[in-house]
Every structure is written in structure tokens, then in C-alpha cells.
Symmetry: C2
């Protein structure tokens, strides 16, 4: 199903990079052409330029995203400064709990995962660095919606509250009640709302103007994690990181 | 100092992304124009397209790299599969030592850092995720040059062995002796060759065909790290990761 391809040459080239989804490893030229709507000869010519730049790499069967994108991606200042400042605190939390530790930001209507610290004893869960989950279904997302500007919640509600599990909060009224509790507590909670069997607790990271710029969370097994007991540790890490971000 | 700008529109657009160096946070339109050799009106038009794609973000004073690049960079399969498989082993090493733990690959003539686990008690050192150091000056690089295909060493020697510290090995003959010792030991050692006061030990990660695809290293203070004592831990982690990569 080809959709109309972008008009400009630059946008066409970039659309070839965007054709790779979160779980794609490699795509053939035919797939790239179909996903972007570009005729095969055009796709072929632009792909060759992307290969020489390093944004794509040729494989036996087609093409995969190339190391140049990874290197550039690590230079993105918004993630770099947060990640560098956060890592020691995330490591402390990991060492104290051996659960999944996340650093997240709000992006569009999603929780975007900037960093994930995990180990052999952590429960395997779906989150991945650079990946997303709908904000209303995550502990971090509730922090952003409860403590961020009202436009965040408007955008999320307007986009529709998609259901991920039987426990996802999909009614705007119930979500607002949950967010009021988040404000009162000072941390967000997710009880199997993004993934069955997985719970999480998240606390806000503020900048020097007290704007919420990120969240720190712990996620793991619903049978093992005592969220109320873990909340102070998460809040302490988020407060320490806030102080560090404010002083930079 | 403008150099001749790339010919094609796609290459011109990509050159604007490549204008951001490892430590740049934001660049003005004038800087972007100067670094790429593109006339200001052309740069302005292409920058607008990159902003709408998300590869650049507008700031008060200019432009910075955008989150789309971070998200795409995390989809690069070569780093993603290695990073995902390695993280538990890197965390184990970190917890056992509290030093800087690296996952690296060979790229062009450099050691490219795919992951770095570090904490409050680790010595602050120059390495950063997505960053590079010349291969001949790092413990991981010596692993790649000693155990990888001969073309690696040829490329590095042809490029010239740059000096980073008083201890960097800059004579090809001495480097070959060091690599022979690396083969005999099975791990690489860096004694203040990339950064004064910093030493490191690195072990190879193999794929199912016994090709070296990555290295795991520990780096820290020259006064504190006993490299011979740490080598078995690094080798054990690299072997476990090799087994996991071979089974995928």
C-alpha cells in the first residue's frame, strides 16, 4: 500500500530512514519502495546516498540502519545531558533493587525511554531505549500528565486513550482522578496498565524553573514489587537528579 | 572557512546534521552555513525540512539535533542486538567493581563506544556512548587489532598513530609487539595511553564463526586498578556474551 511520497528530495531521503520500524532489522529495496511510496529507481538512488553517508548499511538481503545514526543520536543534547547526569542515580537504584530502572521524557503523547538499566535478576519487560509507550498507561506518563502543562493531558485525551491491557485507564474521567492522586502523592503508579504482570512507580525530575523535564521509574513483577515501599527510593533519586540538572 | 558543499540535495541536507560535532549543543544558521559551505538561504530551507522531520529542533539561538535521531539511532541493529545482550553482563561487572564498564566495536580506525556503565564511585574518564578513541590507544582497540582481520591494523597504521598522551604507542613496530602480547594473553591492556592516569583491560566478544565483533572493558584509575586481577572478570563477561551472541 503506497502512500503519496514526500515532495522534496531531502524529505524523500529521510522517509527511507523512517521506513524502519521499532523492530525491523533489515528491509529490501522493494519494501523500502513500498513503505515510502517512492518508485524503485528513485529509492535505489537515494539509498545509495544514504549508504555513502552511513545512515544505511548494505546487507546480503537489503539494507539496515547504519552506525552514523547511532553516533548522531547520542549527540542529541536533550537526551545526552539528562542521561549523563542520571546514570549514577539509575545505577544506585538498580543496585539497591535489581529491578528495571528507567529514565523517560514526554514526547508527543508518549513516554519515551531515554535509558534503561536492567540485569539478570530483573523481570524482562517490553520497554526499550528509544522506544515508546502511551503516556496514560505508564507511571512516568502519569507524572508528566499530572505535573506538566495542561496541554499534555489535552493532547493525550484528544488522541484517544488506547487500551494495552485489561487494566489500562481508558476513560478520561478516571484518568483525571488517577492524576489527582498522582499530584497528591507526588509520584505516579502503573498497576499492570501497560503490560499484564508488570507494575511501576515513577517520580518527576525538575529543572531550575520547577518544570518537569523527565521521570525516573522502577518497573517489575506485580507479585514482587511493593510500590509504596519503593516510592521513597525513586523520589530520592529523582530529587537528586533534579538538583543536579538545576545546577548545570 | 567554507568547503565545497555536496552536490545532491539529500547529501546537502545530511551535511547539516553532520555539522554537529561531538560536543556541540547548538549551532546558529550562520555556523551551519559556514560548516557545510551551503549558502544561507539554501541552509535555511533545508534546516526547515529537517526541523519538520525531527532531526533538528529550533532553540532560542539556533538549532540542535532532535529526538528523531536518538530514536532512529536506537534502532540501529548492530548496536541494539549487542547492547541488549550485553547489558546484564556489564551490570554484573559494574556491581563487582564500581569502575567504568564499556562495550565497544571497531569502526574505521577507532574504538566506538556502544555502551558505558558508570557510577558515583567510578573515576570520571573521557569515554562517552557514541564517542570514539583511536584504536591503537585503547585496550579494546588492541583486541580488535590483535584478533581481528589484518586489514584493521593496516588501516590504522596507514592513518598514522596519533599521540594522545606521553605513553601512547606511536611506533608501528612497538604496536605490533604489544598486539603479539595481546594475542598471547587473550586480552588487551591500556596503561595511560589514551588519557593520563587512566588504565583499562579489554576482552574480545566473538560471534558463532569466532570473528571478533565487540569488546568488553573496564577502565579506571591507574593508582587503583589491578589490571591482571580484573582480567579474568572481563574475560568471563566477554565469554558469556560471546556464547549468547552465538546462540542468537
Amino acid at each position: 500500500m503506497a502512500e503519496p511520497p514526500p515532495k522534496s528530495v531531502l524529505a524523500r531521503g529521510l522517509s527511507l530512514l523512517g521506513a524502519f520500524g521499532a523492530t525491523d532489522v533489515e528491509l529490501t529495496l522493494a519494501q523500502l519502495s513500498a513503505r515510502t511510496g517512492l518508485p524503485k529507481p528513485t529509492a535505489h538512488r537515494l539509498v545509495a546516498e544514504l549508504v555513502s553517508w552511513g545512515g544505511l548499511e548494505r546487507t546480503e538481503g537489503g539494507y539496515r540502519l547504519g552506525m552514523t545514526l547511532f553516533v548522531l543520536g547520542q549527540r542529541v543534547p536533550r537526551q545526552r545531558s539528562l542521561r549523563d547526569a542520571a546514570l549514577p542515580y539509575l545505577e544506585d537504584l538498580y543496585e539497591a533493587t535489581h529491578e528495571n530502572i528507567h529514565l523517560t521524557v514526554f514526547d508527543a503523547t508518549d513516554t519515551l525511554f531515554l535509558e534503561k538499566v536492567t540485569g539478570r535478576r530483573s523481570m524482562p519487560i517490553v520497554s526499550r531505549v528509544g522506544g515508546r509507550l502511551p503516556a496514560h498507561a505508564t507511571a512516568s506518563g502519569k507524572v508528566f500528565l499530572a505535573l506538566g502543562p495542561p496541554s499534555y493531558l489535552r493532547r493525550v485525551v484528544d488522541a484517544g486513550l488506547t487500551r494495552l491491557t485489561a487494566r489500562t485507564v481508558v476513560m478520561p474521567g478516571l484518568l483525571r482522578q488517577d492524576l489527582a492522586r498522582t499530584v497528591a502523592r507526588g509520584y505516579g503508579i502503573n498497576r499492570e496498565e501497560s503490560e499484564t504482570g508488570v507494575v511501576a512507580v515513577a517520580a518527576p525530575v525538575h529543572d531550575h524553573r520547577r518544570r518537569v523535564i523527565a521521570a525516573v521509574s522502577i518497573a517489575g513483577s506485580a507479585h514482587r514489587l511493593d510500590l509504596e515501599r519503593l516510592a521513597p527510593a525513586v523520589r530520592t533519586a529523582a530529587l537528586a537528579l533534579s538538583r543536579e540538572m538545576a545546577s548545570r
